[in-house]
Subunit: 470 residues, 3 copies
């Protein structure tokens, strides 16, 4: 029945792709406490076809990625490190509060839920939801974040628009503006606009308001109101926290998790419910039943939760609306792939979505084929690169000698893969005689074609043992 | 669970808006018994970004706005006066009939439901549903009507297309055609079409049919069939009714309503069910369960139904799929705002929709800020003007000395507002330390920023008492 | 409640149609055992407006239309003949197997369900689902197939993209590529791409993969792998089967059907459930509950199932999500119309969809009117021609002397027709006085206009008796 409600609608894009490329970031911005590397939609027609942009944030210890929201849903994956993630959902209660509950609430710290994040987690947030990330660990926290600009939730235009609450990321915004202007001047489809007419970026969203109106809005004095505009701030998007960041948090989560690892997926929600409904909170609108209690985080890297596992090949884990329900709203699926040395992912196509994948470790050879049977990509994709696989295009992957690991997002909340080879595959599903006539081969050959490869989607190879090269 | 089905999809538009403007109508057409003033989509890139056009009809006493349907959903608001509204929903029964029930039905007047409309009502109708409005009051009936051209229900193109059943609004159509042609010649994106090739408008939808086929279709003589084409009619869209318009109507609704005002919202439906299921009517298709019984009208102006009310500031009333279920199909939300003298609406952004508002009374100062923190609007919006607030753009409003009242439509059936200040707000939801680091302020200052303004969304101001000017 | 989930979203197109035309195929490709005639989207702005392309396949006896999948949902109608249809749905079990069940399954033939198809059937398949068709009858099997390129399921671009599994339809692909290139060079909206840069089509989807990777994927030798690429195959899309095609099939379906014709609609499903759940099959994913068991075929031509039947006029049968649930996913409705000699289809408009119809027999006069009341089509549409009726445009049809039969697809899973004349019509739904004022006619005339034509949608005519010409 849930399937019956499944729907998808995307921004329409052009996918005239004669040649795909493994992509490096198009833009890099250094902040006070980290660096952000962007794959801008404007920079590449593959990304435009898929409607997905990406950014890799490297956040140093005690670095804080300042609060911002986007015009489109965001999924990020924690490549390395640990930290806290906060999201601001309008109308949801401030459920995290200091323990001295009986005292005046006015002076007590209260804020909406924060969640600890670890390597291997994905975090999914709807369009328009403000987010921040803090690195409380000892090593850099590295995230790769995908923004689904082509998502129906975006009613603006096919640009990644980030609205900053705090800070003053002028350098970042200026480089983004340049990227957009270049793209527009290249495109004949868009109206002429002299770049000089466009005014410069101005920082966070408070920068554009009158200081007096801000002071009135917050009932603060004009001096503090002017601080909201952060005019002389040069720290960019990732700032260094001056003292250690004080956040109310459930605490000891880590320790408990080590003992009850299996419960991790559901921890957040239970914690929330206990705090929320045990108290006196009155709902402010009908949203609490939905967004407020929806889990945003999911560990996609735990081998035990793989959907496909081949001890001689690797594993594939899919997170979609069934195991992370917020993805129903976001209309996205995440896929984690781990191929061992020289193993293969069956030739397949994505039935109902594009796929954009980022290589988190190792490298692999990929081939991609379009509707005219033309090879549009044949090459090695390295750690740190991004590749777009358009909907319905056929793709095959083979891991290199160091293995091949990726995180992919797919533009459908129940993305479907159709393998062409293996025990569950399109070829297996067809009658032998259809195959023998399609390929002008004998029935015996058709039978081999259907049945020889018994594995499902993740294949071991002869070369796995032999250390085959290409 | 209802939330799970919530979805939105819009026409993709361009929102390269360096500067917004408060808009006056772009076109005015005088009819026999009224005047129509249009905010054409083609006339303005803000309206194109939002995908919403508007028209204000001023209908004189005994004026009839002739039946028409649009390629997109319509919501109108009754600014002033009273009247009748009829809608034609295919497959629904003619449930309003003359009282002499036992007689030959053939000669009895029967028609689909009509509804009385009053100042403060909104009426919502799906795309393709023919509507007419009649002013049976003593003063002009003034409506402002929004057409959501960017709505998914419109499969044609991003023009407001009105199909007229009756009349012959040649002047109106010709001015509309000129507006479209100007827009096309300005736009480089569209194909060249010499204007001369486009034939002139021809009036109502019967004008394009052969008279013989019309006569055959209705089993009428050719002379009456040719009258359907109204060739020499110069009355335009709003005509003066020759004798008083005879409509079957439940009657005495007004009197009863004064006594049972609280029941008003549900009156129509009850009336319908009694008449419909009490009779012998056989359903013609599965639609009756849905559209036929859905309420189209809702009073959005009653103070007691406000969602946010501040006795020193004003009120905001939201009508969405929860209190007017037809809006689920239309994917629209309506908002009524009333700010008292000098009061403020909290700085906020619309999470998941555009907002287009029309000032029904007074005036207010508005500021709007884009993703780069640039002020794209800073000015006073007057009674009778329209302003577009794009999705995610931050906006603040402050009423002038005469107060500030508006009706807004938002392009989502559950539009969400995210206030930045006040008791329920993004700033309140974030930890103090995130704020103190984001704005480089002290913890004490962060606490003030979070907590000083205790009101929700509608704020009283110092100047409320002092009669502050700007 | 089902209605509440009803939604539609389409690719946005341009519908600046001053003149519509009855369309002949734009392209014809001869295969070894049949011929394919295409109505390419790229060839015509009416098809682009509707977002629907079409093809008519004439498959000779023992001809096999090779497996392919599209980037958009497909509905085809069997104009003539009989055959088998196979579809490959990823994750669904191979439920059709040889009877020797106890033996080694490895060597047994197993494949996914196939269905027999007959004249008068429609078959509906989602985007990305591979399909093949085999003519096992004695006469040619003729299909007209509609691809809903504007459907939300297509995330690529507004081209009909066919991915072939098997064969090597070079001639077909080359003519298609030329069509696309012409269309692009005509359109100013698209980026310049020198045609020379575009590489030639290369055949089926295996053609673009490395032979070694194919061999590894299927665990076959390189020679067989290279056969998958079919380099020297000149048979195109429809090939002649060398011996009779051996398919596992329920058998005797035809005979049983003649006795239990009324059960036919549900036969497939029952057969499937018995075979599927009676066995030991374990579900591989959550899909089985939905796509795997959904019926794809429906006979739309059986007179007894007509929705509208007038013994002196003809009949109209509608198949939508209510009687063929897979259409909910496909968001399409099919309509079968049969008008007797000189009978009429009431003037009407399609409320929420475009309509694209193909004339299967006879001919008829059609008139179509746009929003400005202009006649944009007035002509005779012949057997074998296609006509687009854009959303909301008013249309009237009258059969010629040999009658008029068509199959239409409509771009909504619950397409609604709004007749303007007849017992259920927009005119009937309006009060007499609204009509008398709209058309400046008397009340008596308005009453005749409303009530004279008592039939519903399908009208007999005077000329039926008189053999009227036009």
């Amino acid at each position: 029945d849930q399937q019956h409600r499944k729907q998808q609608q995307r921004w329409q894009t052009e996918c005239r792709l004669d040649r795909l490329n493994a992509l490096q970031p198009s833009r890099r911005v250094q902040s006070e406490a980290g660096v952000s590397e962007y794959w801008d939609l404007e920079s590449d027609n593959q990304l435009q076809c898929a409607g997905v942009s990406a950014v890799r944030h490297t956040i140093q210890n005690r670095g804080l990625l300042l609060p911002f929201f986007s015009n489109a849903p965001v999924i990020f994956y924690v490549i390395q490190g640990m930290g806290f993630h906060g999201a601001v959902i309008p109308g949801c209660p401030e459920t995290f509060e200091e323990s001295g509950f009986q005292q005046s609430q006015r002076s007590q710290e209260q804020h909406q839920k924060v969640r600890e994040i670890f390597e291997g987690d994905i975090v999914a947030a709807p369009a328009g939801v403000a987010q921040w990330v803090y690195n409380n660990g000892d090593s850099p926290l590295v995230l790769v974040s995908f923004t689904d600009v082509g998502n129906q939730a975006n009613q603006l235009d096919l640009n990644t628009r980030r609205f900053h609450i705090g800070g003053n990321p002028q350098k970042d915004q200026r480089s983004e503006q340049e990227m957009r202007q270049q793209s527009q001047s290249l495109s004949r489809r868009r109206r002429s606009e002299s770049a000089s007419e466009r005014r410069n970026p101005n920082g966070n969203i408070f920068s554009g308001f009158d200081v007096g109106l801000l002071a009135e809005s917050f009932k603060i004095d004009n001096e503090l109101a002017s601080r909201l505009q952060n005019q002389n701030d040069r720290r960019e998007r990732i700032v260094r926290v001056r003292e250690d960041l004080h956040i109310v948090s459930p605490g000891r989560i880590q320790e408990e998790e080590r003992r009850h690892e299996y419960r991790r997926g559901s921890y957040d929600e239970e914690e929330y419910r206990r705090r929320s409904y045990g108290g006196e909170y009155k709902m402010t609108n009908g949203l609490e039943e939905t967004f407020c209690t929806l889990r945003m985080r999911h560990n996609i890297d735990r081998p035990s939760q793989a959907d496909i596992f081949n001890p001689r090949g690797g594993r594939v884990t899919t997170v979609n609306n069934f195991n992370l329900p917020i993805l129903r709203f976001l209309r996205l699926t995440a896929e984690r792939g781990v191929l061992y040395k020289n193993a293969m992912m069956a030739p397949h196509f994505n039935l109902n979505s594009h796929s954009v994948f980022y290589v988190t470790r190792g490298s692999g050879r990929c081939q991609i084929v379009d509707d005219f049977g033309r090879n549009v990509f044949d090459g090695e994709v390295q750690e740190g690169q991004l590749l777009v696989v358009p909907q319905n295009y056929a793709v095959v992957k083979q891991a290199g000698n160091r293995g091949f690991e990726w995180i992919a997002i797919k533009t459908n909340d129940n993305a479907m893969r159709n393998p062409l080879a293996g025990r569950i595959s399109a070829i297996r599903a067809m009658p032998e005689d259809v195959l023998s006539n399609a390929f002008s081969i004998s029935r015996e050959q058709a039978r081999n074609l259907k049945n020889n490869r018994e594995e499902v989607t993740v294949f071991s190879t002869q070369s796995s043992q032999q250390g085959r090269k290409y």
